[in-house]
């Protein structure tokens, strides 16, 4: 009797043995199972995703120096005085140097144009795949995804053989008599555009397809019954309804395209300015880690708004699934 009473008595009236008190304290301060489940992946991401950015920001204010690691410390302690040395020079240089400004604008332009052409090619493809019969749909989407599963590097490499002055495309065009002198595509901006549209096309088609295939066809039928022309139905109903797919696809293409390195390096010319490439050169060729960090920070700033948009739509999309 006594024991059962004790068991159900509130915490305060229990006799406080040493271990009992310890347990109560522990229960209050120990995290719940829920928190324990959240913390490990959270900590992993903080350590390997968030903290590295802080370091990039920090080192962008350091100076290059010949040592290991090749940058100066921001804080130094000499004769009881803390010295803080912040180098703003890299950022001033980024803002004043015409080449850097041109590089930003050129990266944005290249990514923007590539995104536009991806949309131009990807939307009709996603549309017709979504309107095919269920089994064909599955097959066609597999065909879209298959190149994505094969190596990205190899697919970019394939374009060298096609675009070169004596490559397959020029052979073909001269062969059918359309042109007489070979087109200069390899090592030009055009080569980069083709490579980017090609590589990122699956990223555009996937969200568009997912959106278009879910669309309620009864709406379109109603519009047809009311006498709307196909083009009107498309621009007034299909296109507005697929807005989220268009935004998601465009962001999935645009954001990585801004910082692309491999495609401009392999297909672009020496004068193809892309910020990812400039950063790579600063880092690997000039060994100027602080400058490379400053360029990285600038790139992150450039992408902040598109990334925030992406995050917004990603969360919205998943809450819609419920």
């Amino acid at each position: 009797m006594n024991t059962t009473l004790k068991r159900y008595a509130p915490l305060e009236s229990r006799p406080r043995s040493g271990t009992g008190r310890l347990k109560a304290i522990l229960l209050r301060w120990l995290p719940s199972g829920r928190t324990l489940a959240i913390v490990p992946p959270f900590a992993w991401l903080m350590l390997f995703f968030a903290l590295p950015f802080v370091l990039v920001l920090k080192i962008s204010f350091a100076d290059q120096q010949l040592s290991v690691p090749p940058y100066t410390a921001l804080l130094s302690f000499e004769q009881g005085v803390v010295h803080i040395a912040l180098q703003f020079g890299h950022y001033l240089f980024l803002l004043q140097d015409d080449l850097y400004v041109a590089t930003y604008l050129s990266s944005l332009k290249m990514a923007g144009v590539s995104t536009f052409f991806c949309l131009l090619i990807g939307y009709p493809m996603a549309y017709y795949i979504a309107r095919a019969s269920a089994s064909t749909r599955n097959l066609l989407m597999m065909a879209v995804m298959l190149p994505f599963w094969t190596s990205f590097l190899i697919r970019v490499y394939a374009w060298i053989g096609i675009l070169k002055d004596d490559g397959l495309l020029n052979h073909f065009l001269i062969g059918i008599g359309l042109i007489h002198t070979p087109l200069r595509l390899y090592h030009t901006d055009w080569g980069v555009y083709i490579g980017m549209v090609y590589s990122y096309l699956p990223f555009m088609i996937m969200p568009l397809y997912a959106n278009l295939v879910k669309m309620d066809l009864a709406l379109l039928e109603a519009a047809y019954d009311l006498g709307a022309k196909p083009w009107t139905v498309f621009t007034r109903i299909t296109l507005p309804l697929s807005k989220n797919g268009i935004i998601a696809g465009s962001l999935l293409v645009f954001i990585p395209a801004v910082g692309e390195y491999v495609i401009p390096e392999l297909l672009g010319g020496a004068d193809t300015l892309m910020i990812g490439r400039v950063m790579w050169d600063e880092f690997f060729n000039d060994m100027d880690w602080p400058m490379a960090s400053a360029v990285t920070v600038a790139m992150v700033v450039l992408l902040l708004i598109p990334m925030a948009l992406f995050q917004y739509y990603q969360v919205k999309e998943l809450e819609g699934v419920k």
Binding site: Y128, M142, L168, Y224, V262, F283, T296, V321
Partner: protein, 278 residues
């Protein structure tokens, strides 16, 4: 029923798929070319395949890539499933926005950014703690896991979200602990999503160039690094042969998995029909 215009649909998809597949086809065809000139056809030959077998640098790099890809696939499935489940089932806890942002960002963030930032982290860790010593397999592995776990988390998250929560609730009501419910109920139900996450991580890792370039050390050169350094100098028929092997493996794999899933789906529908008819 709405029918899309057939001829227009055919031509759009035809042109689109030509664009997607012509580069791949040209790679495969010219891998059997006997000439060293990659764009001029000289005759059928397997010489680039045999050259591939003698290329120890390439084979060693491929072996290293395979090891890293396997380790990456397991680790990113582990952490990615964990993170994806939290995103799907834990509601809005404190720091949710930060957490989901950190999971989603690697999907789009240019790899050069992640590469340099992780490298600076490892350099700082070595400077302050003396670990990890230099860069190599471990640092590349962490980099690849950071990239792949996002894909796994997104796949798992959307699968868990569309799952019926009442099954898990029932198990909880019957007295199972949340951990047991996850392992006994949830995990088997999302096994297919985890499988595709594993495969995606494996292929992303084996193909990654940019992160590896930042995070590799002397003596740890992965396959994409070797391929890139050669391709940079121009065309190389040996790379065509390598690409063809790669494409063959992936194609067979993807088709086999797809067939398997279709079959499984069919069996499930049949079982369900049987169950309802009884």
């Amino acid at each position: 029923m709405i029918k899309a215009s057939k001829p227009l649909g055919f031509s759009v998809l035809g042109i689109g798929f030509l664009f997607l597949y012509i580069p791949i086809l040209s790679l495969i065809i010219f891998s059997f070319n006997s000439s060293k000139l990659v764009t001029v056809w000289a005759g059928l030959s397997m010489r680039w395949y045999s050259a591939l077998l003698d290329d120890t640098e390439l084979l060693q790099a491929a072996w290293l890539s395979l090891k890293i890809a396997l380790m990456t696939a397991f680790a990113s499935v582990f952490i990615g499933t964990w993170a994806g489940f939290i995103l799907a089932r834990f509601g809005r806890f404190r720091g949710f926005t930060l957490f989901s942002g950190m999971v989603n960002a690697p999907l789009v963030i240019p790899e050069v950014i992640q590469g340099i930032s992780l490298l600076l982290l490892f350099v700082a860790l070595e400077q302050y703690f003396g670990w990890p010593h230099g860069r190599g397999m471990f640092t590349m592995w962490v980099g690849h896991v950071m990239l792949c776990l996002s894909y796994v988390a997104i796949i798992v998250q959307s699968r868990v979200k569309e799952m019926d929560k009442s099954i898990e609730d029932a198990a909880l009501d019957l007295g199972a602990t949340p951990l047991k419910v996850f392992f006994v109920i949830t995990l088997p139900l999302i096994s297919q999503a985890i499988m595709s996450g594993w495969l995606l991580s494996f292929t992303l890792s084996i193909d990654d160039l940019v992160l590896s370039a930042f995070l590799s050390g002397p003596g740890t050169t992965t396959l994409p690094l070797v391929v890139f350094s050669r391709v940079r100098l121009g065309l190389n028929p040996e790379m065509n042969a390598l690409a063809t092997i790669f494409i063959a493996i992936v194609t067979v794999g993807v088709i086999a998995i797809n067939q398997h899933m279709v079959k499984k789906e069919r069996r499930r529908t049949r079982d369900m029909q049987l169950a309802f008819h009884q």
